[in-house]
Symmetry: C2
Subunit: 260 residues, 2 copies
């Protein structure tokens, strides 16, 4: 697909200094820092199969493919408008070098058991899963049509449901990484319990003296390693609006979040 | 008590640049950084009643009294040898200016219900509770005599048991702070759930580029405020063995951990 084929209401943005592009709806959730920092939780030498759960237009998954030339990714998304955006993203001429290593799967991350497997999310199918679960997003609010779904999510907890799927679809020894608000840390650690060990937590602060706005937590299926709380990622230095040197390297795909 | 009265096997150490002293057994657990950082979780303007749970020789409690001239403290300890050390600490001539605001309570923090109240730990009795639960300590290992106790602790979880007591003995709106290893963060957050809100987490790193060795978590009984993950305390700068300026101010009682 070329730029001239882009339907009205969508736009194209460059990421990783032009290494990949996203087609995104102008009025929907637009990928930003969160997806790029999440993608950086995958080691630069990763050469396996990745599931990007709740992939949206594909930002995190494509960021991994751009940095890890041997990796393959499955973008998992349930919202029709975002699936369409991801489909156009993968067909963009600018993404030709990496899109061949990506596939799109229309599925709901919160499915369980046989329904999940039938939707294409088989047990032990991936080496790594990454996820940026929605929060304060329109799809989190109950509508009449969604009441049953919402009730289900409220009961089990969205992070619990997403983590259950992520831990099930990675192989033993495979990894899962999540980015979320710090307020979700109790739910994340509880959901990891008994599923994902060796949790590594990286707080993400906007500035050195400000509270964290995100946490990245990475764990390994079946690991008995201890939890560790790593030095934070500081997005901006104390003065100025530029990204810090480390944040710039991470957000632009020059290095991984757990490297150096 | 004067220094010449000190029994063999005990020694006296100065803290907060001489603002208070501790009598400690030479062969037991000796207070250090942990107790001083924990004490700093109490605001400098604190003027209420403090419970120091598992007080040992009294380091954390006395550090609060030395920094907060209107505060009163109850040192809660169950081990006879440490109770004796705390008793000598409070009778030291060097501590005369603050010891009048401290009392010693021989009680087991893990008691529950009526047994706890009967031991002197009444509901809603304190404005603030601080705790540094033991880990890798001799009393954590099972002995024949302690098998029942140990079984109990293993079942409910030591941090769960200590947090349950701390949350019960502070008044509604009162605060609880704990210092522990990062590996205990899941248990801490789980134990705070439904008891203590507005959790504030401060990771403690030995150096800027090293994983955290401790976390301080502070919460307020009945608060519905969101959890926050605050900038870390870095004990030492990247180069050299001296404490960082902030760590020095905190460890020596010049400021609180949650103050600038």
């Amino acid at each position: 697909m070329g730029r001239s084929d882009l339907p009205a209401g969508y736009s194209i943005d460059a990421f990783h200094r032009g290494a990949f592009h996203l087609v995104q709806p102008d009025d929907g959730h637009r990928a930003g820092m969160d997806a790029l920092v999440l993608a950086a939780a995958v080691p630069s030498g990763f050469a396996g199969t990745l599931a990007d759960l709740g992939a949206g237009a594909g930002a995190a998954g494509l960021a991994v493919l751009a940095r890890c030339p041997q990796a393959r990714a499955t973008l998992v998304e349930r919202e029709p408008r975002m699936i369409e955006a991801a489909r156009m993203t993968l067909s963009l001429a600018e993404n030709a070098a990496i899109a061949g290593r990506a596939e799109l799967l229309a599925a709901d991350v919160e499915l369980t058991g046989r329904e999940r497997v039938a939707a294409g999310l088989a047990d032990n199918a991936f080496d790594f899963a990454i996820m940026n679960p929605p929060f304060n997003a329109p799809e989190d609010r109950a509508t009449k049509d969604d009441l049953r779904r919402t009730a289900h999510v409220m009961r089990t907890g969205l992070i619990e449901a997403w983590t259950r799927t992520a831990a099930a679809i990675v192989r033993p020894g495979g990894s899962v990484a999540i980015i979320a608000r710090p307020v979700s840390l109790p739910q994340i650690l509880s959901a990891f319990e008994g599923r994902l060990g060796g949790a590594e937590i990286v707080p993400v602060h906007p500035r050195p003296d400000a509270a964290a706005i995100r946490v990245v937590v990475r764990g390994k299926r079946g690991s008995r390693a201890k939890l560790s709380l790593l030095p934070p990622l500081i997005l901006h230095d104390a003065v100025g609006h530029m990204l810090s040197a480390r944040a710039d390297a991470i957000v632009n795909g020059a290095t991984g979040l757990f490297e150096d």
